[in-house]
């Protein structure tokens, strides 16, 4: 029985958010040494930059079409990469940011390739989340930080914690549940505000954030109130960061248990 992996392979790499700034040496090496490269990035200038790293770079953009079911687009991306893997090629999928964060196709492609006996793995990249921590000066270790896909917060009842940061991704396509409008409007955003108003006051400050894709501009950092947020112009790359609105609540019962454990450690023989 032949236990050797099949010849084809797949690696999905992230090239970070900002052109030139974030790509890792390992990601670049994967791109340069692959047999063929597929690319899904958010900016034509970035796509042009990636095309210079390898003679055979194929854009996944043609799979997108306004009005086409989004999952069909993502499945076609997976199939395009897997077709070449099955043909014995060493394939590199290049994605903006981190290829495993808010990205369905890279995870699915790797899962499928492995299930079919091919070598497949992911190399991380600098994500928009990483940029957000740096640009907004947030340390998620201080108060905690919840992350949700914005529409998911409306379709499902999720438990929020207003003593932590809350970050909502894909705010600019809120409510676009597979309809592929690639946009939202004030009415959809008002539904999101109504969900958030269960836990946050309407006058609470929120921050619209967009990381810098090119080194020629700065990130978008626009502060407003929760109530006014639906009236801002948003696009698919925008994120909503909501600072804590309440203090962390002490837990006396657990503190007492921990104090008892401390005492027991200080007096291990029980004298």
């Amino acid at each position: 029985m032949n236990t050797q992996p099949s010849a084809g392979s797949l690696v999905c790499v992230g090239i970070g958010i900002t052109l030139g700034s974030h790509i890792s040496p390992l990601a670049r090496s994967h791109i340069e040494t692959a047999d063929m490269v597929f690319v899904a990035v958010s900016d034509g200038l970035v796509e042009q930059w990636v095309q210079r790293m390898h003679p055979d770079v194929r854009s996944l953009q043609p799979f997108y079409q306004t009005g086409k079911p989004r999952m069909q687009t993502y499945r076609q991306m997976v199939e395009a990469m897997l077709t070449e893997v099955r043909a014995g090629k060493r394939v590199c999928g290049v994605f903006y940011g981190h290829p495993g964060v808010f990205a369905w196709a890279p995870h699915k492609a790797i899962e499928t390739a492995r299930a079919e006996g091919y070598r497949a793995h992911m190399e991380p990249g600098i994500s928009a989340e990483d940029c957000l921590y740096a640009d907004l000066g947030i340390d998620p270790g201080t108060r905690g930080c919840l992350h949700f896909e914005a529409s998911q917060l409306m379709y499902y009842r999720r438990r929020l914690d207003p003593s932590a940061w809350l970050v909502l991704w894909q705010i600019g396509i809120t409510g676009d549940h597979g309809k592929n409008r690639f946009a939202t409007n004030a009415a959809y955003l008002q539904v999101l505000v109504d969900v958030l108003a269960r836990d946050y006051p309407l006058e609470h400050e929120v921050i619209v954030y967009r990381a810098a894709t090119l080194p020629i501009h700065l990130p978008r950092i626009e502060r407003t109130s929760l109530a006014r947020m639906p009236h801002l112009a948003l696009d698919a790359a925008d994120t909503l960061a909501i600072p804590p609105a309440a203090p962390m609540e002490p837990d006396p019962e657990m503190r007492a248990r921990l104090a008892a454990l401390d005492l027991a450690r200080a007096d291990p023989v029980g004298t």
Binding site: G44, M71, Y96, L214, H217
Partner: protein
């Protein structure tokens, strides 16, 4: 002579250029012999104009379906 994509890559990688003054960036653009209209778009921090000059349409950016994953 360089081109604007190479120049952007250099800007992204170079600590002296990434947050440099307009004068410094202007000098670097001139030294790299970047075409005048592209030079103007870079100095104006105008990615839309730069994309238009290079013939790029806006790209679709989302890689996850809003709301829920259907696999």
């Amino acid at each position: 002579m360089s081109d604007v994509i190479n120049f952007l890559e250099r800007m992204g990688q170079d600590a002296e250029l990434r947050y440099a003054s307009q004068d410094t960036i202007g000098t670097a653009l001139a030294d790299a012999q970047i075409e005048p209209q592209q030079r103007s778009a870079v100095l104006a921090s105008d990615p839309e104009r730069l994309r238009a000059l290079l013939g790029h349409e806006p790209l679709f950016a989302t890689l996850m379906m809003p709301g829920a994953i259907e696999s």
